[in-house]
């Protein structure tokens, strides 16, 4: 267990990564997160003076500037939680499937959650926040099982390519179903269209409090799966030989990821590419030991989403660009780069 084979071949510059270097990166990421949170509250589509910012943080919403800042505070918090959840879920999915292309969006999990929510809204007039969350989680879980089953059919089991293809096909199919459901409903078509882009604009402390318990359980289950994911990374046979219950480990880790994705999609809509980009970035910096990779992915995801939200609010004034679009701009070229790399193999 001394020289990680993947680490050693991943680049001589990062071989023999020491714990002190990892702690350094972790501290740097925490600092970046705090700085980004401050920037997110201070900057937006409206230029706000320092006095207004301080007053708003203190709870006043007398002027429109203060009201604007007051709205940004829960928005920043939601971006932090959603980014952490998606980054972590991506890292777990890549660990569980040993697939460098795994991501809640690509594996159809986000789309499954979306379809479930749309069915609830269109057919059952669902309005309660808890209903949204439970339905999204069920949809995410159902889609994950569905995609994994399809990807495992045929020779070779669930290879990276087959999983990615199954996920992409399922996403497209679900997307068409969503459109078919929404088409006759002129009154909610616009809202659902905006929700499907994925954004953190709907953040209020109340909505965050609804989703917090689900995220907390998801974070707990996910972070506790770190050792299991390390064993799974060695291959199913070796993991079983080391005493790991492979199917149970996969199932619990996947459950954590599904809770995180479902809860996040329920409140933000499907935000893609974050779960894909973040684990790869983190692996470059901190290595493949999941006990470091998982928390670092969560932090990194939070930073990236907050930065994307700030960018979306500052670039297109006086309109906003939803965070789902910004992450697609960042993620799509990254996705192409990953696929074209020489050594795209199982992790």
């Amino acid at each position: 267990m001394t020289a990680d084979p993947i680490e050693a071949s991943g680049g001589a510059a990062f071989a023999g990564r020491s714990n002190s270097l990892r702690i350094l990166w972790l501290a740097a990421m925490i600092f970046a997160c705090i700085v980004l949170c401050v920037l997110s509250v201070a900057f937006g589509t409206r230029d706000v003076g320092w006095n207004d910012i301080v007053a708003a943080v203190g709870g006043h919403i007398d002027s429109i500037g203060q009201a604007a800042v007051a709205v940004r505070i829960p928005r920043t918090l939601l971006a932090l939680l959603a980014g952490a959840a998606l980054g972590l879920a991506g890292a777990i999915m890549q660990g569980v499937t040993r697939n460098p292309l795994a991501d809640p969006g690509i594996l159809g999990v986000n789309m499954g959650a979306s379809l479930a929510v749309v069915i609830g809204v269109v057919w059952f007039d669902m309005t309660s926040a808890y209903a949204y969350i439970w339905v999204a989680i069920l949809g995410a879980g159902g889609a994950a099982v569905f995609v994994y089953t399809i990807g495992s059919l045929g020779r070779g089991g669930a290879t990276p390519l087959k999983l990615a293809l199954a996920g992409a096909a399922t996403s497209i199919a679900f997307s068409s179903l969503v459109m078919a459901l929404v088409l006759p409903r002129n009154d909610i078509a616009g809202s659902i269209q905006t929700w499907r882009i994925g954004g953190v604009g709907g953040a209020t402390f109340e909505s965050i409090s609804h989703v917090l318990p689900f995220l907390a359980v998801g974070f707990a289950i996910s972070l506790l799966s770190a050792r299991k994911l390390n064993s799974l990374a060695l291959g199913d046979d070796l993991a079983a030989g080391l005493g790991e219950r492979v199917a149970f480990a996969r199932a619990t880790a996947a459950l954590g990821a599904i809770l995180l994705c479902g809860a996040t999609t329920a409140i933000c809509g499907p935000i893609g590419f974050l779960g894909l980009v973040v684990p790869h970035l983190c692996r470059l910096l901190i290595g493949v030991d999941h006990r470091w990779l998982l928390p670092f992915s969560a932090l990194n995801g939070a930073c990236l989403l907050i930065a994307a939200d700030i960018a979306g609010r500052v670039i297109a004034r006086p309109a906003e660009i939803e965070v789902g679009i910004v992450t697609a701009f960042i993620g799509a070229p990254f996705f192409i780069w990953i696929v074209r790399r020489q050594r795209v193999r199982e992790l």
Partner: protein, 145 residues
Amino acid sequence: MIAGYPELEGKTAMFITHLDATNLSTVSFYTDNDSRVKFFTDLGLRSPKRVMEASEAGRFSGSISAERVDLFDDVDILVTYGDRNLIEALRANPLMSRMPAVANDAVVLLGRNPLGTAANPTPLSISWVLEDYVALLAEAARKSQ
């Protein structure tokens, strides 16, 4: 028929594309190039400044972040799809409640009933819904004074 509602004359009306009570961060509206807003002009209503700016650019809709909601200070009447829950969510939102139209409750709500089609006037629908639609608009206009 418009003569029966003098309070409509000269008022500005804005058609919001959609407002979801769960996400009030952006105000999206249709511009003068859209048939729904063209119908307003037929009824003697004007478009507010932001709508006219977006129309000049040739677009069918525009959107502005809720943080700049003061750009809509010249809007007298809002028309959108929704129900009373939406109005309450708007009034509870610290930014949206600053819109004069929301503060005066000068909002026309279209729902999943025949009136919901009033916004898109067709030769068949006009005779059905025109009176109700204009009455709602006039009521909103009276509240905005």
